[in-house]
Amino acid sequence: MILFEVFLNGLLLGGTYGLIALGLNLQYGVARILNLSYGEFFMGGAFTAFFTIMLWKFNPLLSLFISMPIAFAINWLIYQFLMIPLVRRAPDQDVLDADVVLVTFGLFFVFQGLALVNWSGDLRGYSFLSTGVPLFGATVALNRVLAFFGACAIAFALFLLLRYTRFGTALRAITIDPVAASLVGVDVRKFSALAFAGGGALAAASGMLVSTFISFSSTIGVEYTLKALIVVIMAGVGRVTGTLAAGLLLGVVESLGGYLIDPGLTIAINFGLFMLILLLRPTGLFTRA
């Protein structure tokens, strides 16, 4: 029975991993920007949720109405005014990647610094839906269940958007080949900016959902950028449902490995799996070869 509970919790944890990575995959997959300041918007979402419940005494879910638009706007501006000049002057994707990494790394310090000045470095946390609920005889935390279903809902919505709308088709075209997409009349710059901004908004949403069951501070962003990056690379760039699946795989393997072998090995198991996938399928689990 405990084994089943461990499996369930691994699934929930994996959903969280997928959730964190969805926005980054949108930014990296469509807009082709590897955004190292991604986690800062996660952090911003977590703080907005914290202030919403602790200071203003509202349901932290309502904070999504504040943090997501703000993150969307800031990311849109970042793309338009910081990334576009880089995209224009870069002769190829490799040069662009290097420039982008440097600039977004700088942005990461700017955002973290601003957060430290305004909100100090204190560890924060709040209680929201932190009750156990029985599920098939096991006990799971309600706030983790919420984050899991949040992840599934966002992934499903993204999937529908990409698969069945004109806008989504354009995004997929850009993912596959931006030059060809522009030749057939897709406004690459406009759509990339929207995808990048949307990725930022998803970062804020995931920060809100995850903040219900973790403690966090102004400096937590980079940790989640790294986690997201691992999932994105495992899944394959630009794969939405694959991202969720890779996250789930990571969570379940981590939990079961930790329980069956030794909890001290969870991080080693994570990275072992990551390396294995890099070796066997360097383009990601869910990309067609």
Partner: protein, 405 residues
């Protein structure tokens, strides 16, 4: 080179003790005293450094300057304090460079402690070599027990592993004697030095006290899910659950123990259990939980401290940081007793005198704080100190911990 640096440099070279009268005439009172520190202002350790240490440096600096400064009786003058701060980015090698710089280039009058055990340990030999007396405020490690004779200029302020875990074992043994518990303990800790040493110290003390440790579980620092660990502990049905944890896992263990309905009669969490945000998150569910360190909120001076802290930093004080403020009060009184910046004499006073601070009467024996607060407990929504039990202000242990409601 300005006049003051020249005088100070020559004083250091010749040795103030050899020609006291000549120098007394040559020296004018300094216009300010410069206190320098290198500490982690960025990176994963920055939040802890800010909340425990830096905030108290800033607060003390303001309080002491509002009162006119530090009294140097040699010049019969109060001299204000100026802080010189650097970011060591959490890297020991960076810290060493910066501490050297504070001493050699900036020629600060006093050096203050960096943050975290390994950083305190890294800085100690440097300040010792330069003969700068420093109270290291955030080091808990068995190593401090034999470092006293080796580094006479380094002082260690907080409760070390043995002093931190012995009161726990004793309290549990007493409860066992009274027949209230069977004496079954379960411990967990992250795989970092602090957790390992605290756990080892507790296992030794538990053995001496005749307690049974039914399980010990290790987990990696930064785990995202500790529910399986708690499940395994629960399966052994212990009376006491002791987590020698760090802030993120302290919070996570507490939350997940509630989720699975794990209700040990006694629960201990180490670092982070005394944070105001811990109470902020869990509300009155913190009642009965024991934690590492702490302070006596009713001690003389604490009310003013709490008020000044709130006014300057716009947040409640952290009990784990009270000792940092106390270390500065102690240092200030040692300087005032000497009456000038003569670090050899200041070291002498610090090594043998007792001074009143907001952390109680402070005294160092073999450079270790003789009576630091080691264990505290949340009682009726307030954090109180409960060990050492013979220290004035210690409250009795409340047992058992109420079940999560």
């Amino acid at each position: 080179m300005d006049r003051r640096t020249f005088v100070k440099g020559s004083a250091a070279l010749v040795g103030a003790a050899t020609l006291p009268t000549v120098h007394a005439q040559a020296q004018a009172a300094p216009t300010k005293l410069r206190f320098g520190y290198a500490i982690t202002l960025s990176g994963p350790l920055a939040p802890g450094a800010d909340s425990t240490t830096v905030s108290n440096y800033k607060l003390w600096n303001k309080v002491v300057n509002d009162a006119g400064g530090i009294m140097l009786k040699k010049f019969n003058k109060k001299v204000p304090v100026e802080m010189v701060a650097y970011d060591d980015q959490g890297k020991p090698d960076e810290l060493l460079k910066l501490v050297e710089r504070l001493i050699q280039q900036d020629k600060v009058d006093m050096v203050l402690s960096p943050y975290a055990t390994h950083m305190n340990l890294a800085a100690a030999p440097i300040v010792n070599k330069a003969e700068y007396p420093v109270i290291m405020t955030t080091a808990t490690t068995n190593k401090t027990y034999d470092l006293g004779p080796r580094w006479p200029y380094a002082f260690w302020n907080i409760s070390q592993p043995i002093e931190s875990t012995e009161p726990l074992a004793k309290a549990l043994a007493e409860l066992k004697k009274q027949g209230k518990i069977k004496g079954r303990c379960a411990t967990v800790h992250p795989a970092i030095e602090y957790g390992v040493e605290m756990n080892k110290a507790f296992l030794d003390e538990a053995k001496k006290a005749g307690l049974e440790v039914v399980t010990t579980k290790t987990y990696p620092f930064g785990s995202s899910d500790l529910q399986p660990v708690i499940r395994e502990v629960m399966a052994t049905n212990p009376d006491a659950f002791l987590a020698f944890s760090y802030p993120p896992d302290t919070f996570m263990l507490t939350e997940q123990a509630q989720i699975v309905g794990f209700n040990p009669q006694l629960m201990y969490v180490a670092i982070g259990g005394v944070f105001p945000s811990y109470k902020g998150k869990f509300g009155n569910k913190v009642n009965g939980i024991l934690a590492y360190g702490g302070a006596d909120p009713a001690a003389p001076g604490m009310a003013e401290y709490a008020k000044a802290h709130k006014a300057l930093l716009n947040r409640d004080y952290e009990a784990g940081g009270v000792q940092v403020y106390a270390a500065l009060q102690f240092t200030q009184q040692a300087i005032e007793q000497v009456g000038e910046i003569d670090r050899k004499k200041i070291r002498g006073v610090m090594g043998g005198s007792t001074f009143k601070t907001i952390w109680g009467d402070m005294r160092f024996v073999k450079q270790l704080n003789a009576n630091p607060w080691s264990v505290s407990q949340w009682q009726n929504g307030e954090l109180v100190a409960i060990a050492p039990t013979n220290k004035p202000g210690a409250k009795p242990l409340q047992f058992p911990k109420p079940a999560w409601s």
